[in-house]
Amino acid sequence: MPIKQLDIEKVAQLAHLELADEELKTFGPQIAEIVNYVEQLNALDTSSVEPAIGGLTAEGEKTDSSRADEIEGSLGQKVALEEAPDPASGHFRVPKVL
């Protein structure tokens, strides 16, 4: 199915990307070509095939990933904020929401 210009803009919005007009113009046909390519999968009848979601190996699925509910060391507020673009009074500050 051909992707319309409109769809590209909608997808950019969903992805939180403010694409430039130039990018919309190049990405449109490129993404359409890739989507067209992946649609070859429709040639396969998969009506009775389980999707491979979840673990890939039996051993991985068997592994118990639970652990004791105990407090362990963590980064702490100071270190966790060190890489923040705009930390303020122990918080991550952001521009106004409304």
Binding site: V38, L44, G55, T57, T63, E83
Partner: protein, 464 residues
């Protein structure tokens, strides 16, 4: 001794980086300090004093982790990846962080925000990707070993294009904690080296269960070096004839077929195998990988770390501008594609369908391994291509991963082994793929080949 080899590596990295652009950070002072410390403490770890390079999407405390992206250009993670922690415990010395395609998305390293890595065999050509810096650093003799990550071939393909060994272990063999996520069901940390024994040693150090990554499996880690016996008695190697057809460079084909003959001479039984769904792998991969990437990369929004766009008085505008200015074109393209295939109304048609075909590909592998212990393919369809040759054609670039993505989709391990040079002196590699947890078998097969056909050639840009 350790200080001497670390000093050699750092000097070589500094000297060759202008040409290769393989490193994004070189830590002369820190590495020398640590080397001295290790020497004085008499550390007897398996990698005591060994200089090592780490791909810039793995966290090393005190160093940057840009992932080849502007959005994390100045990011310094406050913790070590588990694989890095284990290397350090074994005495390894991290000398630097290596260049890569932005967020490991690419097959040529041209998607790095900090410029492409140049191939030490011919600096007008790509190193492969996405772990191109690690591959080039090992190929040029700067370090004996390096870590990379492999989501669709990002260790094996650059290994092949640069003429070194590169292994992607079974999904769940290594911890992904501290590896910046691209596609979580495909990502796996891998090892580059020039000798099979070094691959075995480093893999043995980093592998195993980690409570910080619930997808690591509780499977014992064998002594991989003990498997390098050279004894291939009774071994069966699969040969998927149909993968040696259309699109494969003639020299690569001949070279890999010659490897099959070498194995036959070593007493290995060659068995024909079929992988009926291999032709669908790229389509499946680019749905699943982009879908997972679009979710994983949602965290880069200018709030907690990394780059934030300036003069954005409103929150949503800040998110959008930060991402627009911070990400490069390929990352945006993949986020867009992933968002599209997951969007309302398309999920079943694309994502679910791809996961179903992934099951078929996995079943192909399980069937193939009923009649062989491992099978052989080329690693990449051609030797290293020219920088700039494929940048405007994303689909052509994606098809470069045709031999490697299946292993990530099925979750099985794979290794790329150098097997000679093309007529214009570019490395060619073959790939061995094996069943789950068969790293020992792959290393044994690679080692036996190395014993009879050692790859002794060195690139023109080199520290040797």
């Amino acid at each position: 001794m350790s200080r001497q080899s670390v000093e050699f590596s750092i000097t070589a990295a500094e000297r060759l980086n202008e040409t290769l652009n393989a490193f994004l950070e070189i830590d002369r002072e820190g590495a020398l300090q640590r080397a001295t410390q290790i020497e004085q403490s008499g550390n007897q770890g398996a990698l005591a004093g060994v200089p090592i390079a780490i791909k810039d999407n793995l966290c090393v405390r005190g160093m940057q982790a840009s992932c080849g992206s502007k959005i994390l250009g100045d990011y310094h993670p406050p913790y070590n990846a588990t694989v890095v922690e284990r290397l350090l415990k074994a005495g390894a010395v991290v000398i630097g962080k290596t260049n890569c395609d932005e967020f490991a998305m690419g097959s040529s390293n041209e998607n790095s925000a900090f410029g492409p890595v140049r191939n030490p065999w011919d600096t007008t050509r790509v190193s492969g990707g996405s772990s191109g810096g690690s591959a080039a650093a090992v190929a040029a003799g700067i370090v004996p070993v390096a870590l990379g990550s492999d989501t669709g071939g990002s260790v094996r393909q650059p290994a092949s294009l640069c003429g070194v060994l590169g292994i992607k272990p079974t999904y769940g063999r290594n911890s992904r904690y501290g590896l910046v996520a691209f596609a979580s069901s495909l990502d796996q940390v891998g090892v580059f080296a020039r000798e099979v024994e070094d691959v075995a040693r480093v893999l043995g150090v980093i592998a195993g269960r980690d409570s910080h990554d619930s997808t690591t499996a509780d499977v014992p880690v064998p002594d991989y070096t003990a498997s390098l016996t050279g004894d291939l008695k009774g071994a069966r190697l699969g040969f998927p004839r149909t993968l040696f057809g259309k699109g494969l460079d003639d020299e690569v084909k001949k070279s890999v077929e010659a490897v099959v003959d070498v194995y036959r001479d070593l007493g290995v039984e060659i068995v024909d195998i079929e992988l009926p769904h291999a032709g669908y792998a790229i389509a499946v991969y680019y749905i699943i990988a982009t879908a997972e990437a679009s979710s994983n990369l949602a965290r880069f929004d200018g709030v907690r770390y990394g780059f934030r766009a300036e003069e954005t008085p409103e929150l949503r505008q800040m998110y959008r501008r930060t991402r627009e200015e911070g990400f490069g074109p390929e990352v945006k393209r993949r986020i867009m594609l992933g968002t599209y295939v997951l969007s309302a109304g398309y999920y079943d048609a694309y994502y679910r369908k791809a996961q179903q075909v992934r099951t078929l590909i996995k079943n192909d592998f399980l069937n193939a391994f009923r009649s062989c212990d491992a099978f052989i393919t080329p690693t990449a369809p051609t030797p290293a291509f020219a920088i700039g040759e494929k940048v405007d054609d994303p689909l052509a670039m994606y098809l470069n991963d045709i031999y490697t993505v299946t292993a990530n989709l099925a979750g099985v391990p794979g290794i790329s082994v150098p097997c000679g040079l093309s007529s214009n002196r570019l490395p060619i590699g073959f790939q061995l793929l094996g069943p789950y947890w068969s790293e020992s078998t792959l290393l044994k097969l690679a080692h036996a080949y190395e014993q009879v056909q050692p790859f002794k050639e060195r690139p023109p840009i080199s520290a040797f």
